[in-house]
Symmetry: C2
Subunit: 417 residues, 2 copies
């Protein structure tokens, strides 16, 4: 495009932007929140468990105890996590809390295989595939764990970079969202998972925090099966390496679900021995409620089909609008995920912050630029996370229109210098 | 008593013991668990909240968010905690977890007023009134916090010992169960509370962990009002000193209740800033369930009256049997608490472990001897905690009979050398 053409584009888009701005929008695409229509799917939970508060083992779920969670609920999720049920712990409403507690216990006590508590080491580092999940990074920052970013490819982290990073004995672990990663939708391939399991790490107590938050959150008929990381680690002689997390936050109720952790028998024993100082047990009534409502592993999948009916059209709309509005200009690329909760948009280098500023000033709140990177620092200032789940289809269409307009304005501004 | 009389007593009690032993008992008095009859009082929770999942503020409780908890629930408990509602946080099912997290955050980050994180200090110590709550002590042990035991009198901790202890700048805090303490039932008087609030401590960031677990758990008409520790601390120029905990574990469901923390605005801000890294929010549906069921502060008190109807006769039975069986021998003393969950029994010095061994061998599980002391070490080996709440009245009568028999046997054995 010539300079004049770019100027014409800028004028045209600025006029469109002003019109959108004047319409008084107030839309929020910041977080991956389920919509009310999705939450409605599980309203049966609101009157459960009813009079029968006893689980299949005969436990009165109202009383204290049962640190590892209700067996009948763990049985439903063990196949999804690909972990033997006796190595699955069911917790309260946030798997993030289980990740937090794993880090805290490791810092204070070390994990099985540690020579000393992580917290007394000179430094502790985690490998962080980027772009990634901001709350993972915030946890590490909270506890002074240094982040080593590596690129996340379509089949998982850049293994050359990972191999290099784990030569440092201070590198004690890494994050991974193996299936439909936040925000790119990347799926860790079987081959990459096998390599991670077999990896020769300088730290003998290296851990993979395998946050399978979107294990069953498909957006297409192609239902990706997550690699069996625990089995691969066992086969490679690193049985304690993988710690697997999951939750029903995006299956039932985002704020009132249940969470899960699966790992080796040794890791589970270790975790429970420390967890037992913090609490006498999880909310077993809520676990019973979930077990009764979901019924079985098949019940979970059936419910996820209904989520897909609501979510897939929203993702299709995002991709369609981006293509229609931006396709011809070559100023952006975006993911077309087969599951999960996000579309990842890369704009012209150095303009992501400006795009977010423009959308905000037009009444559309987006996740801050850089959020998907450690310390909020996107070195190329180009990545934007789109969370299409919460707004209504109508609101979403407007919001993505605002976003596309902002992308074009910021690109034109930069081109004109 | 002469040696012969003691031998006769031992023979008589041993015969009684054998008879009890042969009856194949299997009773558990180890923990302060509510009985099924008590849990039944709150069965309405099992079908709440019903179709209306929106709180009074218009929040959809099913979704993410609301880190500090539902306002309408906090409003019910703020008067009980004597803390302004905006300084109360409502959490999930265990106040123990809130205490744990306060310790962890303090160790990693320090508290408002700290010069540095507690964890980088040479040593950190807590004053522990004894006998006290074993889970408090286990938390300190878990995190390497040294315990400084001080005697707990009927009106609170021995203040001479406390004054001496807090001259050490490593002493960063103390535990207190101010009302109907676990296990003695002691109530911290207004005068002692005022002195604690005004105390001149070497550590500028000294904290009182005021675990008001039994605030409304009266066993008599005399409804003790807990001292207003937050107000007293403010009045003494130590606004950040008190951190108050409470929960509904012994009001609604022990395993599926809600917990509370109240403190200064600064402490609450500090707590939430760290908590927000661990979780996006508590289970608000369960908080709504509780707000709807309890209705008001008066609703809580009314429910506690019904608990009292179930509990008071059990406590009366314990005291009656101990008096009938042990009163004439001068080998034991016990508390007659006006609230809470425990009777504290002191037997002949050096015999508590033997008593617990005897009860166990007769099929009655009791809290281990020494449990009410830091590191499980009762220097006089004389204290036994009785938890009368869970067994049925009939089972309780038998269990206390076994206990009394065991106390007499152990005392006679010792006297005979």
């Amino acid at each position: 495009m010539t300079r004049d053409q770019i100027q014409a584009l800028l004028d045209e888009q600025t006029a469109a932007y002003r019109a959108l701005q004047d319409s008084g929008l107030k839309l929020d695409l910041t977080r991956g929140k389920p919509s009310p229509a999705q939450l409605d799917l599980s309203n049966e939970l609101l009157t459960l468990p009813g009079d029968d508060y006893t689980d299949a083992q005969g436990t009165d779920t109202r009383n204290y105890g049962g640190l590892n969670g209700l067996l009948e609920l763990r049985e439903i999720f063990a196949p999804i996590m690909q972990v033997p049920v006796e190595q699955v712990v069911a917790g309260d409403n946030a798997s993030l809390a289980m990740m937090h507690d794993n880090l805290v216990f490791a810092l204070f006590h070390g994990v099985p295989g540690s020579e000393q508590p992580w917290g007394v080491e000179e430094s502790v580092k985690f490998v962080c595939p980027v772009p990634g999940y901001d709350r993972h990074f915030a946890l590490l920052e909270e506890y002074g764990i240094e982040m080593v970013p590596v690129a996340l490819n379509e089949d998982g982290p850049d293994m050359d970079a990972v191999r290099e990073a784990v030569k440092d004995p201070a590198v004690k672990g890494m994050w991974l969202v193996p299936t439909y990663g936040n925000p790119t939708g990347a799926v860790v391939s079987e081959a990459v998972a096998a390599e991670l399991a077999a990896l020769d790490t300088a730290a003998p107590d290296f851990r993979i925090f395998w946050d399978n938050a979107y294990a069953v959150h498909h957006l297409t008929e192609e239902q990706t099966k997550t690699a069996d990381i625990l089995g691969l680690c066992v086969a490679s002689g690193h049985p304690d390496r993988a710690v697997i997390f999951a939750s029903t936050s995006k299956i039932t109720f985002a704020g009132a679900g249940v969470s899960f952790m699966g790992s080796s028998a040794d890791n589970i024993r270790w975790y429970l021995s420390h967890l037992g100082k913090r609490t006498i047990g999880p909310d077993k009534v809520n676990q019973l409620r979930h077990a009764r409502y979901l019924g079985s592993t098949a019940g979970v999948h059936a419910l996820m089909d209904r989520h897909r009916e609501i979510l897939a059209p929203k993702f299709e709309a995002v991709v369609r609008i981006l293509r229609e509005r931006l396709g011809e200009y070559g100023v952006a690329s975006w993911t077309e995920p087969k599951g999960g909760y996000f579309v990842s948009l890369d704009v012209v280098d150095g303009t992501a912050s400006r795009v977010i500023e423009l959308t905000r000033e037009a009444g559309v709140a987006m996740t801050p630029a850089g959020a998907a990177f450690p310390y909020g620092d996107d070195p190329r200032d180009r990545n934007i996370r789109i969370a299409p789940s919460y707004p209504s289809p109508e609101e979403l269409t407007i919001a993505i229109d605002v976003l596309a307009t902002s992308v074009l304005i910021a690109a034109a501004e930069q081109a004109l210098g």
